[in-house]
Symmetry: C2
Subunit: 343 residues, 2 copies
Amino acid sequence: MVASIEDVARRAGVSIATVSRALRGLPDVAAGTRDRVLTAANELNYVASPFAARLASGRTATIGLVVPFVNRWFFAEVIATVEAELRQAGFDLLLYNLGDEDGRRRFFDEMPMRKRVDGVLVASLVLEDAEFDALTALHRPVGLLGIEREGFLSAGIDDVAAARAAVDHLVSLGHRRIGLIGGDTDDPMRFTPPLHRRDGYRHSLAAVGVEPDPDLERLGYFTVEGGRSATRSFLELPDRPTAIFAESDEMAYGAIREIYRSGLVPGEEVAVMGFDDQPFAELMDLSTVRQPVGVQAQDVTTRLLARIAGADDDDGDPRDPAVVLPTELVLRASTQGPDGASS
Amino acid sequence: MVASIEDVARRAGVSIATVSRALRGLPDVAAGTRDRVLTAANELNYVASPFAARLASGRTATIGLVVPFVNRWFFAEVIATVEAELRQAGFDLLLYNLGDEDGRRRFFDEMPMRKRVDGVLVASLVLEDAEFDALTALHRPVGLLGIEREGFLSAGIDDVAAARAAVDHLVSLGHRRIGLIGGDTDDPMRFTPPLHRRDGYRHSLAAVGVEPDPDLERLGYFTVEGGRSATRSFLELPDRPTAIFAESDEMAYGAIREIYRSGLVPGEEVAVMGFDDQPFAELMDLSTVRQPVGVQAQDVTTRLLARIAGADDDDGDPRDPAVVLPTELVLRASTQGPDGASS
DNA sequence: CTGTTAGCGCTTTCAA
DNA sequence: TTGAAAGCGCTAACAG
């Protein structure tokens, strides 16, 4: 029913080997022959069966992308970018969404991408050694996003420095009591960011001689609601913070809402700084740290593909640089006081 | 290096056919034999090569999911749900993100999923006949999300009725001048919802004898910013609307912000109704129409898989019902006036 | 219940 | 520059 390579060969009057060569653009095919093959293929509306090709060649032209969530801004952005990059290179994207701790365990147990990808991309998970081992056992190049590890390709930002710059800005505004809304560093999904961003926050305060105050460090679980309740507890403090640094924009939105709800004005009575610069940040007049998600994703993807195209000695190459991309402080009304008038 | 079916056969002391049967759980394998095979496979850490299996069997155990965007709530939700459902069934998910009109054209031109999926899921695109034809030419079952078409599996909501119910509520509150913020019905990505939701809006008004007023129907392009500027233009009207119905929550967020910005209070001076009930809606105290995205996605996925597992006469079956799932009006402060006190 | 034997539709030597 | 032929690692009759 649907054309196979033999049909094309017959129609073009050549052997199937020649069809294969011509269609894949290999050298050593006479121009005329190639044209005839291409024409025949076109007329028959032929495309090679990827599975037959994969079986015969060992190359899958497929990348597995592992994310902990798909419905969060960062990861959605990553997926979109990687997909576009792969499509362009003629690669397929097999998506693996961990979802929860259970899904994560199943994933690393079964390694469902065994024997079906040429390379792997893992986004923003703090992996355990056993999990890294599972990836290594794939014997395929692995790219990391937002994590670094010797022997793996990676791209990311300097979370510590970025957080530090953000908090430094609050400090420069005169704030000294600065609340931190963070992710759970023991979170089952174990993101990388919480650890680093908290460090940046603490460094910044330490630099001006402020001791860490447990009352001022709350969990927000990277959700709006979490940001809200953390903020509520801050505002109930006898000596409430004058500024809040949230490790993600979403938590910052929650902070802003809660501040309004208490009859205060964000940026006026309480400054708020987020992290990410998601599209909503502008809507919320939120000062935040902009990180180039698309660039990070594109960067590892490109290098991963190059790696696959290149050597076949793919068991990890310590020379692969961990690319660190710059972030940028975006200042809006939430850290500007009266006239920046937010909401 | 990595075990093949022969290694397992040798170790278990059976033929490769028996290994194949045992591992796939086919009947007619003696319990003892099966155990030995399973053990051997385990010891060798064996998994079948999916490509060899696909080539031999013709089944790919893969579904192609086509979405216009990944970084919008609805689609992210769909992706996550479908992924989970497929994983559980042992299917792979090949993701195709159209991105823009160009990507869309390329996609339907090249049909990159030819010969690589057992079934297709298409989310919320108004497809042209030629595009439907391209899908049909795949000769695989196709499931639609948020669209209906004779001969295709589908699940969705009744957008007209849902929008109508939403606007009816505003009407019941006494509103007669109700602004509509809609999607572009000529949008290159051609969503289904804008057409239907606008109809629901118009029906509702017509039912109380209100003529459509072009000044009160604005495009919001399904973005926050679009909702904002549409609202701005409403508020500048000499006879401004007392309520706004946005065809998506995101546009409604923009409306709420813009209303605040003009010194008015949403729900008090201007009521706002959204559509979707995204997680942010609660944060924004937005009244909205809740639609069960996960349920819709799960529903088509399940039926698509059943269809694949069942008959091989897969060229479209007119008997497949288009499942319509219920929506629900969620009322919050944005339509409640003074005491529901929002923001 | 189990083994034998053809393929599945390509890619890739190797020869010509 | 091209063709013949041997697989790639499975599944699926068919026999027994």
